[in-house]
């Protein structure tokens, strides 16, 4: 698969500023394919977890209302340069998306 996730983590004062971009169509199941006139089945990321050095900092649930190629911005206290942040996401069809970044 092409690069599924792009991540950046930088220090902003004493807070880690985390930005995550995930490649995903986020199909709602309500749109029609213009060529075939058939509904495109729902296909969307519905759960996302972010950890800082193995400790969960975010546990999120999403519906179809998150835009295509989802973006997440977070701010985490207690991090420092060199810390490891990982993000794990799963979609409604069970596909998994994982990413990791070291705080710069």
């Amino acid at each position: 698969m092409a690069e599924a996730m792009k991540m950046r983590a930088t220090m902003d004062g004493d807070v880690v500023d985390l930005k995550v971009l995930i490649n995903h169509p986020m199909d709602t199941g309500l749109m029609k394919d213009k060529k075939t006139d058939k509904l495109i089945p729902a296909h969307f990321i519905n759960q996302v977890v972010a950890t800082l050095n193995g400790k969960t900092v975010l546990d999120a649930q999403w519906g179809v209302g998150i835009a295509q190629n989802p973006f997440i911005g977070l701010r985490i206290k207690g991090g420092k340069p060199g810390d490891k942040i990982s993000v794990n996401a799963v979609d409604n069809l069970g596909a998994k998306f994982d990413g990791e970044v070291v705080v710069a």
Partner: protein
């Protein structure tokens, strides 16, 4: 080498062995997610139902939730939203769009130093209130902001 693997796979057929394997860290549990996906809340068709099913009902209006969103969104498919809660003890934050086919968009639960802040991009079917609901200290709070959606327009 392969014999060991075969023996393991054979033994792993029983549930007990798998449970032990998970307990000893031999196999990772399939999901790291704290709770199952709340399909009831995410498929509710009206705002009151989705707020209730997500556990954000009975919320007090609060301007301590700072909602950032554009006044006018030229493209409803990608609307940037961010919010910060200045209410002490905020543990989670959810996004609702009144006029979307399914109003509940997302629910973020923060822990271990994550600030009660999130930034993301949402879809909006049409001009609507965007509501940010927050759980803090066992109570619910909510604030909202209207975003005008001009589909195919030029920002006018």
């Amino acid at each position: 080498m392969n014999q060991l693997r075969r023996a393991f796979l054979k033994n792993a057929g029983t549930v007990g062995t798998v449970a032990i394997a998970i307990a000893t860290g031999l196999l990772k549990p399939v999901s790291a997610f704290a709770a199952a996906w709340n399909s009831l809340a995410f498929t509710s068709k009206d705002l009151a139902d989705s707020l209730k099913n997500a556990g954000y009902d009975g919320a007090t209006e609060s301007s301590d939730i700072v909602v950032k969103a554009p006044d006018i969104a030229e493209n409803g498919a990608v609307v940037p939203i961010s919010a910060t809660s200045n209410i002490p003890g905020t543990t989670s934050m959810a996004i609702f769009v009144d006029k979307n086919p399914a109003p509940m968009v997302a629910d973020f639960t923060f822990s271990n130093g994550a600030e009660p802040y999130m930034s993301t991009r949402i879809k909006m079917a049409k001009t609507s209130l965007v509501r940010i609901a927050v759980k803090a200290g066992g109570k619910n709070y909510i604030n909202s902001r209207e975003v005008k959606v001009t589909i195919g327009g030029c920002g006018g």
